[in-house]
Amino acid sequence: MEIYLFILFATLAVAAAVGMITSKDTVNSALFLVVNLISVAGIFLLLRAQFLAVIQILVYGGAIMVLFLFVIMLLNLSSEENMISRFSVKYAIAFLLGVVVLSQLLYAIASVTGTLPYVSPEMERVGTVEALGDALFSTYMLPVLVTAILLTAAVVGAILLAQRKFSGKENK
């Protein structure tokens, strides 16, 4: 039963990803990315990472993509369709490079012999919030505080760049 769900989510994810990079309108790309994120969240559920699946949808799909759509609206971008130039040699090179990278990765991955173990009860616990909480607030306490500084730096930086008034001239 899981195989069918995996195949469903996988095809949805790949189709959405291809749709994202080929669609003309920026808003369509953003919506395709949201579909991709949700299908990847579905695969997280298959891998028993339930807390991550919810976060993926909540934070990635919910907050980050909203910010993307805000900026696309703010900059009134959809009128930039003409940026998709017709087929050019650049596409061919990029596509070739991509295929080369992909084939090496797939070759490396094919050598992975491990199969997903039958979902043992212990495995069931790994994806839950409790397991994440235990590890997060014991071993990974320092990275949590580093993330706090990272987010504050992002806030200060974003405000500095996005604000209209240029404070350089005021305090001479």
């Binding site: 899981e2 996988a10 790949v14 990803a17 291809v18 994202m20 990079i21 920026t26 790309s29 990315l33 991709n36 695969i43 997280f44 891998l47 990472a49 991550l52 976060i55 993926q56 990635y60 907050a63 980050i64 993307f68 900026v71 696309i72 900059l75 971008l77 930039e80 940026m83 998709i84 596409y91 990029a94 596509f95 490079l97 991509g98 295929v99 990278v101 992909l102 797939l106 991955i109 992975v112 491990g114 997903l116 212990e122 790994v126 994806g127 397991a131 994440l132 235990d134 590890a135 997060l136 990974y140 993330t147 990272l150 987010l151 992002a154 930086g157 974003a158 405000i159 760049l161 996005a162």
Partner: protein
């Protein structure tokens, strides 16, 4: 379920992201492809964590998500600043500092 199904899917999504970054000209779509690359790596992290049965992989996905969010906030602020200066987000048009 074989592990390499999941890793293969994440490699395919990663490559689509790479191709997206290299071919598209709109700064926002390039940035979205970079987010897609990060997201595909999250997928392989979760599958490794499921196979190894420990939680470290999922913790790294946790932090990778925060990094992606912080990058989104700063990146879109830069794109807004670019829009104010050059009024275009077409990456090939803004090349003041050439070779």
């Amino acid at each position: 379920m074989e592990l390499y199904w999941f890793l293969g899917l994440s490699a395919v999504l990663f490559t689509i992201g790479v191709i997206g970054v290299l071919t598209r000209k709109n700064a926002i779509v390039i940035f979205m492809s970079a987010e897609l690359m990060l997201n595909s790596v999250n997928l392989s992290l979760v599958s490794f964590s499921a196979q190894l049965g420990d939680v470290h992989g999922q913790i790294l996905v946790f932090f990778a998500l925060c990094v992606a969010a912080a990058e989104a906030a700063v990146g879109l602020a830069i794109i807004i600043a670019i829009y104010r200066n050059n009024l275009t987000v077409d990456v090939s048009k803004i090349h003041l500092l050439r070779w």
